[in-house]
Symmetry: C2
Subunit: 200 residues, 2 copies
Amino acid sequence: MGAVTSSGTAVERAPKQDRSRATRRRLLEAAVSCLAERGWSGSTVSVVAERAGVSRGAAQHHFPTREDLFTAAVEYVAEERSTALRALRPRGRTEVVAALVDLYTGPLFRAALHLWVAASNEPQLGGRVTELEARVGRETHRIAVELLSADESHPGVRETVQGLLDMARGLGLANLLTDDGPRRERVVAQWAAILDGALG
Amino acid sequence: MGAVTSSGTAVERAPKQDRSRATRRRLLEAAVSCLAERGWSGSTVSVVAERAGVSRGAAQHHFPTREDLFTAAVEYVAEERSTALRALRPRGRTEVVAALVDLYTGPLFRAALHLWVAASNEPQLGGRVTELEARVGRETHRIAVELLSADESHPGVRETVQGLLDMARGLGLANLLTDDGPRRERVVAQWAAILDGALG
């Protein structure tokens, strides 16, 4: 009897945990798209809960505050993007540069940008976003170094990669109000060639 | 008599125009610092009028709508910066790169960023900011080409300069939440050297 009960509980627990994880994921994805489309001022836990088809109570069980929800959302999507980037098998540096730049032109960058800008005026958000940004930034830098086969023991290589990621961020910003795709493609091709020379 | 009256009026008109121009300038400068410090949601014509020590009525005489005031403010400060940049006599490309990057790390960039991000979610602002951004961007590009002695008739040079300005914009973004000065200085030094090689 004891074994049956214990086994039954374990079986029930697993789907419950799966459901909870699925709810959490739905909330995080809804939070990112909400932030990207409506900005910080239009993004609340209630709006996201409704978008995700989750009750407000369940949403608050997962994320007690608005800051919890949106910083977790940007981190979650950033991790998904990092995993996808690591799985990439690019055929050359131009492809790597294009893939890195792509990180900054989608809804994740748009969402993160809204969060950064809001954090610059809201102290309760500032500390958390700064910490998140540093963590995500370090991870992106590591992936970039790896994909570019850059040897950071050489002087200047670290700063070369950093500047490339700054350029990618700037290209993301240029894409905020208009579709900057055709211009961006030419800039990426040119700088990939320059970078190839600089990295040797 | 006629001559005296007419001459008197002209004399009176000049200081009145001067006062009006000074009021306008005070409003524009107050609007930029307000936008930089409080963001779009905290920036209204009333708040700016008070900051500038101008009556709300006088402010609305100069700028009938909130959109008028803030787009004019970002444009005004961008023009001031362009004039200052054109007057620069840099001693080499590293100094030029540093001066261009400086454009994106001060209160003007912070104000413009708030305006861009707000414009991405507010249709009545979007069109005007897109047009303003294109105008300011073209002007900055022209100045960069001139200061860098870049010859755009060579293939790739145009995109090289564009990528540099994108990097400058990305460096501005990285400076939003923390003082990124020391890292930025190293990136600027490295990229100025790369650029020097690329531009020949």
